[in-house]
């Protein structure tokens, strides 16, 4: 039975719960990127939620905020579905479902929110971090490649759809956080049968076809790994931007821990706003440019001349299906309210400015990366405007390195530990038959010439006897 909380306690609990869920979603999806992480501590840093220096990837934050909405979190269970998609088979094979839910039947009415609940959430987040590495899907995620298979994620609300995992399922309770309004439970269900469905389903027959769709299920699963990910959609960024604007002041506090750990506010405000301006604007500018196929830069690339000179045609009103694209921001639209169209406009202006604009964008990109935002910047800067040409370069991949040099070292060591197969045994069957055939011929030959050998032997023996006499 839930207890009545004071206004401040309720506000704190809601804030902690929201941040706990957001961080959990980050940890789960980051663990399925197939990368090895090191969350390092910085000297004298106390500005980390739940005392864990886990960076927020901006795209994941945008999708999570879109899924969770702005109301109270955990009115419904929050799920992360992790699936696998191969290049050949277009179907998704669901590997695991993480579920975070609030059990209102079990409460801890006397618990202190600022210390005990916060501490329990910290422990639960660490538990998620530990379990995400030992779950079977982690090994698969480490082996994913663009041409082979990819791991995808999807956030949604509502009861977890465990039927997606098939019949062979294991469910583990990861952690439980008792609060005055209920117990937050985190569980992981995963399949133990890794068989891909043979054919993708052509028609989806649903009993709830005419009912409202599941909350938070806006789109298809997205690749976990940044290398395989499409740029964040303009819609996502617009959503994130609107939230940021409404919640700018709250967001500054939401990145700081609870009471007792409050740093000097003006410095933090200044720092965060600077980082936001640099990273957010730049990311939005880049991703919006990438996602809009009718953006001037892309049009320039389409009409690329042989000499590498771009012919720039800036007539947004002439673009095909313009009436259908009304929902998207127009590159040439004039607005000054900081909306994504502004960033697109800035992008176009920087294009016109030439190299100066390019350098500025790159600098801002580096700043954004340093702030722990979505690191799309790891890829070659193929989307940055350049006055000379617009050749899209593939992402840099090491031809002989799989994932991580240390993993390769371990693999090499194990290979060296096992005895190599003998090369002389590889074609043993062919050699043996040939040898047997030749042996038979040799025996026949020897038996045919047996008389001659005996004559030779006799002659030798008689010669020796004569000499001895």
């Amino acid at each position: 039975m839930a207890v009545r909380l004071s206004e401040q306690s309720k506000k704190d609990l809601d804030r902690y719960t929201r941040n706990f869920v957001m961080k959990s979603l980050q940890v789960i999806v980051q663990s399925r990127m197939g990368e090895k992480f090191k969350y390092s501590t910085k000297e004298n840093s106390t500005l980390e939620w739940f005392s864990l220096p886990i960076p927020d990837l901006q795209e994941l934050t945008a999708v999570a905020r879109k899924t969770l909405g702005q109301g109270p979190v955990l009115n419904e269970p929050v799920n992360v579905e992790i699936s696998l998609k191969t290049k050949e088979n277009n179907a998704y094979m669901f590997l695991e479902v993480w579920s975070i839910s609030l059990d209102t039947d079990h409460c801890d009415p006397d618990v202190k929110i600022s210390s005990t609940v916060y501490g329990r959430m910290t422990l639960a987040l660490k538990s998620i971090l530990c379990v995400s590495r030992v779950a079977p899907c982690y090994r698969l995620a480490q082996r994913q490649k663009k041409d082979d298979f990819q791991i995808h994620y999807q956030y949604n609300l509502g009861p977890p759809h465990l039927a997606l995992l098939g019949e062979d399922i294991q469910t583990k309770k990861i952690a439980a956080v008792s609060t005055p309004v209920g117990t937050i439970r985190i569980s992981l269900s995963y399949t133990t049968n890794l068989q891909m469905p043979q054919k993708p389903k052509k028609i989806d027959l649903k009993d709830d076809h005419f009912s409202t769709p599941r909350l938070g299920q806006f789109s298809e699963p997205k690749p976990c790994n940044r290398k395989f990910r499409n740029p964040t959609s303009v819609e996502d960024l617009r959503f994130l931007d609107s939230l940021e604007k409404q919640d700018t002041f709250n967001a500054m506090f939401s990145t700081s821990p609870p009471e007792g750990i409050s740093p000097p506010l003006p410095q933090i405000t200044e720092m965060i706003s600077t980082l936001k301006e640099s990273s957010l604007c730049d990311d939005k500018q880049k991703t919006a440019e990438e996602s809009d196929p009718f953006h001037p830069y892309f049009r320039s690339a389409v009409f690329l001349q042989g000499e590498g000179k771009a012919v720039q045609v800036e007539r947004p009103e002439d673009r095909p299906f313009a009436s259908l694209m009304d929902g998207l921001p127009m590159p040439g639209a004039e607005s000054s309210d900081g909306s994504p169209s502004d960033y697109l406009e800035q992008g176009a202006q920087s294009k016109e400015k030439g190299e100066e604009g390019v350098e500025k964008t790159k600098e801002e990109g580096e700043k954004g990366e340093a702030s722990g935002s979505d690191s799309e910047g790891e890829e070659p800067d193929s989307h940055s405007p350049s006055s000379s040409d617009f050749v899209m370069l593939p992402p840099l991949e090491f031809p002989f390195a799989d994932t991580d040099p240390t993993t390769n070292l371990g693999q090499f060591y194990r290979e060296m530990q096992s005895a190599p197969p003998l090369t002389m045994c590889e074609h043993q069957t062919v050699q043996l038959t040939d040898y047997l055939a030749s042996l038979k011929g040799e025996i026949d030959k020897f038996s045919a010439t047996q008389g001659d050998y005996e004559k030779i032997l006799k002659s030798i023996c008689t010669d020796e006897e004569e000499q001895s006499d």
Partner: protein, 217 residues
């Protein structure tokens, strides 16, 4: 006060002993550590962050998370190496136990010294096995990785239960609860001990216990 006790029994190949111990004990220590406390007054403090790091195992199909503290890692590896040497390089020994104990100190009146009261114990009981060929050893590498993964999941489940842990201390009491000797991480006070069992001593221990129990009746 009775300490909570958990025991994990695992069969391992000789080369897997350090990684099995490290993966389980590092997980426990990561969960039982906080960031460094920075006291402003006797009762007012802020908590620093705890870094985390993924570690891949070479002899197990497993990756585990540990606190990002090289000093803690070094200390733990040193203790585990003593156990590894004792168990692996003594032909007569087949199994052994290594225990991670969390305790707190209680001040006693003069002239008595401080008392160490354990509140949680995690025991890892390992039996060394030998497999005849490389194929079996490779298969066991995968199986043991999964088994250790299951133990890690069990540990997280146990830890999330509402059980006794020492209260957050005041400044003067900090060293009675936490080990503040590590620069970037602050685990609860802990110690690691190991015991060895040879096949013969195992039987004798059992017999001794049996006789003792009988006589007590």
């Amino acid at each position: 006060m009775n300490a909570r006790t958990e025991t994990f029994e695992l069969n391992v190949l000789g080369g897997q002993i350090p990684e099995v111990c490290n993966s389980i004990f590092h997980t426990i220590l990561f969960l039982r550590s906080t960031g460094k406390y920075k006291y402003k007054e006797e009762t007012s403090y802020s908590i620093g962050p705890v870094g985390a790091k993924d570690e891949d195992c070479d002899f197990l199909d497993l990756t585990y998370t540990r606190a990002d503290s090289d000093q803690l890692d070094l200390f733990l590896k040193g203790e585990i190496e003593k156990f590894n040497r004792a168990l692996r390089y003594n032909e007569s020994l087949r199994s052994g136990e290594i225990t991670l104990t969390f305790y707190q100190k209680k001040q006693k009146r003069w002239p008595f010294s401080q008392e160490c009261i354990p509140w949680e114990m995690w025991t890892l009981s390992l039996k060394v096995i030998h497999l005849p060929n490389e194929h079996e050893r490779n298969a066991y590498r995968t199986n043991l990785g999964m088994a250790v993964g299951e133990k890690v999941m069990y540990i997280t489940e146990i830890m999330s239960r509402d059980q006794y842990v020492p209260k957050n201390p005041n400044y003067s009491e900090l060293d009675n609860v936490f080990d503040s000797s590590f620069p970037t991480v602050q685990p609860y006070l802990f110690k690691i001990e190991h015991t060895m069992q040879s096949p013969s001593s195992n039987v004798s221990t059992t017999m001794r216990k049996f006789l003792k129990d009988t006589l007590m009746l």
